[in-house]
């Protein structure tokens, strides 16, 4: 039996060794988003307001579709990690916190899936 208090024991254990992975994933996705965001600002921004046919022709180009898909997937992943931390920081009502943490994961999953299917459809010209 230990004479340590529970708090002393926890302190001795130090980091739970989880969370470093989250921290790294946030940085790695940021490094990926850096050039992709510059590409997005330079080339995709003007396309957002264009008529349908012009916008579709732009996105249907294989390179554009590939870069857009990579950008969107990196964005969704990075945003999921980021919003998760914001929820952890500010929401202290347990049921609300857990519900939102689950909800953002579902939204991110659906968003990634929908983006991939839509872009594939556009490239294949269906």
């Amino acid at each position: 039996m230990s004479l340590q208090t529970p708090l002393g024991r926890v302190r001795g254990l130090g980091s739970a060794r989880e969370g470093v992975a989250h921290w790294w994933a946030q940085r790695v996705s940021a490094v990926l988003l850096l050039p992709l965001s510059i590409w997005f600002l330079s080339w995709v921004l003007p396309v957002l307001g264009q008529p349908y046919s012009d916008a579709r022709v732009f996105v249907a180009q294989p390179l554009n579709a590939f870069l857009l898909l990579t950008f969107m997937l990196a964005l969704i992943y990075h945003a999921l990690l980021g919003v998760q931390v914001v929820i952890e920081d500010y929401l202290h009502t347990r049921w609300l916190e857990v519900s939102l943490q689950v909800a953002i994961k579902l939204i991110a999953f659906l968003a990634a899936l929908a983006t991939a299917f839509a872009l594939i459809r556009i490239v294949l010209g269906a």
């Binding site: 708090l7 940085r27 940021a30 490094v31 988003l33 850096l34 965001s37 510059i38 997005f40 600002l41 921004l45 003007p46 396309v47 957002l48 307001g49 264009q50 008529p51 349908y52 046919s53 916008a55 579709r56 996105v59 857009l68 969107m72 964005l75 969704i76 945003a79 980021g82 919003v83 914001v86 939204i107 968003a111 929908a114 983006t115 299917f117 839509a118 872009l119 459809r121 556009i122």
Partner: protein
């Protein structure tokens, strides 16, 4: 368990400073970009859906208060991305262990502010000249 340990700073007793303001702005722009991301997903979906849906969208966003709101939202998104990107670089440099002293934190902070405003203005100018918002 009442433990005597340091607490997080009480924000309300602090005078707003450049560093703290830019820090919360990184968080706010990150949240706005997440929201904007879902709109981008919607745009890609509508593009895949076909011209009818796209025309509906453009007709809906094409006039009156909605047009004004869409335009404002667009520039909030653009500024958010420019700012978050530049300040994100600042974060990554810090993470590598550089520029963490107070004078450098202020210097890089002002660089980010000025560049964000200038780049956003240039992008707006390009949109006006190009006719696309």
């Amino acid at each position: 368990m009442a433990v005597k340990r340091p607490l997080s700073p009480h924000l309300q007793v602090y005078r707003p400073q450049l560093t703290s303001t830019l820090s919360i702005l990184h968080r706010i722009t990150g949240l706005l970009l997440s929201l904007g991301g879902t709109l981008l997903v919607a745009w890609v979906l509508i593009l895949a859906q076909g011209p009818d849906h796209h025309e509906h969208l453009q007709a809906w966003a094409g006039g009156g208060i909605v047009k004004w709101l869409v335009c404002a939202g667009f520039y909030v998104f653009v500024f958010s991305l420019v700012y978050h990107l530049l300040n994100g670089i600042r974060h990554l440099v810090w993470d590598a262990g550089y520029g963490l002293d107070i004078p450098n934190a202020y210097r890089s902070g002002w660089v980010v502010v000025v560049l964000s405003v200038v780049i956003t203005a240039l992008l707006a100018l390009r949109a006006m000249i190009g006719g696309a918002a």
